[in-house]
Symmetry: C2
Subunit: 415 residues, 2 copies
């Protein structure tokens, strides 16, 4: 049995490493996500109901309801959300991912990523910028108006640009960004600028009003986390290609809805193995502290599943301070630790500061349980109340209980 598992896991690792995610188009959610009609809302993490939702998740849902015009104001939106008339769906079940609250509704434009090696698609929203944004649970007019601008002005332009540029190779950008101090979860400055480089000369050809053009350029190039959502969509397309391998103990998704942390395992179907999430340990923006923090949240831990984010901490000495994770030596320690719970090392994605060693790739639930080493995730921190937004960034560990539950299920299945 051990050999069978090893073979299955090697296959999974090979699929991750050989996947080739390309950004191919901008599509509206209702065009491409099955069942995302009126009164349906996709969210980060495992499935849950309104009653179970944390503050920022509820805040973002009210914002999305106003954005879609299903209610005119917060009170009406909350009544609707509570009424049972809204269907809540896990993004992963739609083939999509979203950072933090991860809310997706029908009118939102999405990045469409195509994994050329395995011919599968994935989707993610367009990053809204930093601070008071829907993904962190903010929902006032500024937030809703920005979402409308993204839909009405930005999305058609980006679609037009992608027609001119052709598919944008996200793998190449991620490999380059690792050599430029990004870890692709809490630090995406290089990846964002490399993406901008890929599209800006085409954007220059689009006929636009000067103020629209300037706002679009500033929106993309002024946001050091613009690439986060592209990296997530890429990771989703990559990890989905490695899902469903019989006898594989590889984690193909980690995701949190702010109430529950869930993992999926390649050989164990589409169910989630869940446990309560931890509070991230990190640095808070001025005026905020751990008391304001919501529990760990978002689909973004898909990045760690493919070996970037916290797993590639060593490639990003500058992120170590941002997430309050200590010194450069600590960063290397995180990456070295993650090698112990990974199936192998990438032969495509390198960490130059570790003398071009491959990133640790593919979490093995057996190794997590055996070693007691928990996957490390770099994450943003949302205020626990609806409507506030981001209050910091930090590091969090996946809860052991998820891995034990998955391993028990795997053992029962094997018997």
């Amino acid at each position: 049995m051990k050999n069978i598992i090893e073979t299955a896991n090697r296959e999974g690792l090979s699929r991750i490493d050989n996947s080739q995610p390309f950004l191919v188009d901008i599509r509206f959610a209702n065009e491409v996500l099955p069942g995302l009609h009126d009164f349906v809302i996709g969210h980060a993490g495992p499935p849950m109901d309104w009653e179970q939702m944390c503050g920022p998740m509820r805040g973002a849902i009210l914002g999305a309801i106003k954005y879609e015009g299903w209610a005119a104001h917060d009170i009406e939106a909350e009544e609707l959300a509570k009424s049972g008339k809204i269907t809540f769906v896990s993004n992963h079940d739609l083939g999509a991912v979203g950072p933090m609250t991860g809310i997706i509704t029908r009118s939102m434009p999405l990045f469409e990523v195509f994994n050329e090696t395995f011919s599968n698609y994935s989707y993610c929203t367009i990053n809204e910028g930093l601070g008071k944004v829907l993904r962190f649970g903010a929902n006032d007019d500024e937030v809703v108006n920005r979402l409308k601008w993204i839909e009405v002005t930005l999305a058609p332009v980006l679609k037009n640009v992608l027609e001119m540029s052709g598919p944008v190779n996200l793998k190449v950008i991620m490999i380059q960004a690792l050599a430029m101090g990004d870890e692709m979860h809490q630090r995406n400055i290089a990846a964002s600028l490399l993406f901008a480089r890929a599209i800006m000369k085409h954007l220059a050809k689009v006929d636009l009003l000067p103020e629209d053009r300037s706002r679009i350029v500033a929106f993309i190039m002024g946001n050091e986390q613009f690439f986060l959502n592209l990296g997530m969509a890429a990771a989703k397309a990559v990890m989905d290609s490695a899902h469903g391998i019989e006898n594989s103990t590889m984690v193909t998704a980690m995701s949190r809805n702010g109430t529950s942390f869930g993992i999926r395992v390649s050989g164990l179907g589409d169910g989630w193995f869940e446990a309560p999430p931890d509070l991230p340990q990190g640095l808070y923006f001025p005026g905020f502290s751990e008391e304001d923090a919501n529990l760990d949240m978002g689909d973004s831990a898909i990045l760690e599943c493919m070996g970037v984010g916290g797993f590639a901490m060593s490639s990003a000495p500058a992120v170590v301070r941002f997430v309050g994770a200590g010194t450069v030596i600590d960063a290397e320690r995180y990456t070295r630790e993650m090698f112990e719970i990974s199936i192998g090392k990438s032969e495509k994605y390198f960490i130059p500061t570790l003398d071009f060693e491959g990133i640790p790739m593919g979490i093995d639930i057996r190794k997590v349980v055996e070693t007691g080493i928990l996957p490390v995730i770099n994450t943003g921190i949302a205020h626990k109340q609806a409507g506030v937004g981001q209050v910091g960034a930090g590091v969090v560990r996946a809860p052991m209980e998820c891995f034990i539950k998955a391993l028990v299920c795997f053992g029962e299945k094997a018997r």
Copy 2:
């Protein structure tokens, strides 16, 4: 005397570290460089005559003569160059710098950099891109036409953009780029994109034909060495502010004209201490080898004087392979070695991979002679024949003889 020298050198170090270079304008060479009229040509390195010039230097001069319209073709241009009617001037004596051949003539647009702390200006040409370009001695129609396009189309647009953006803080860009794997001499990908980020939203507002806009964006964002010339102008403004400190043994310029390597020392006036340059050791582009290489060339070693380039090798693990300088451990070794010949460490420019240690800053001629450790310079390699262009990139050491000559002069002056 030793204390007096230490005090003078500390002052020099402080001036380098506290300098604040800003890109403020685009100016034409004949507007701002004294005496750069018709039939005057600025070049890299110490002064020399046509007879002494190497192949690529002569090639670039023929290109510049054609570009200025002083001759119609290569034969006529060479006759003019040999005739004695052309005055050749060292860029440094004009307050300017240029990479490789460093040719500057009256019609060329220059970056104008202002050192806000010490109110001094410096100038450098706009980077032409890679491969077959004037700075590497290429001079055909493609080269000349590109120079014309830079003058006629690009320069006025950049000038307009800088009016809108205001001064661009080059120090902040350089500090950020060190955290993104650049060393600012042979690797400028992050600095170039960070500079693009600073100007692109303003460029978006300029009224331009779509094809011109697209070419300008591609020209700036498609050139990973675009920032090289900005970094050099910044370093020139920085180092000039530390020149002329009585009793200082600090090197304020290292520069090579392809025939001779020269250094200037803060306390020893504007004269050059010269010696024959070495051949860079490095990696060659396919089809070329060491036999094709010209001797070390260019004003760009001004970067190493302020502690970037080869001195900051450790910040750029990816450059180590590009210049054929070994592994990441070797990169750290280069930086550690440079600490031994430097006056101190920067408190402003950090190397994240060395746990945010400051870069080695300010070469002390005494330490070079005492330790026998020669300053390391990352450099491009030009073909030794006129008209070919770049053939590789590598590492070179400054020749000991320059430092011995300077130290002898210093000793004689002190007596």
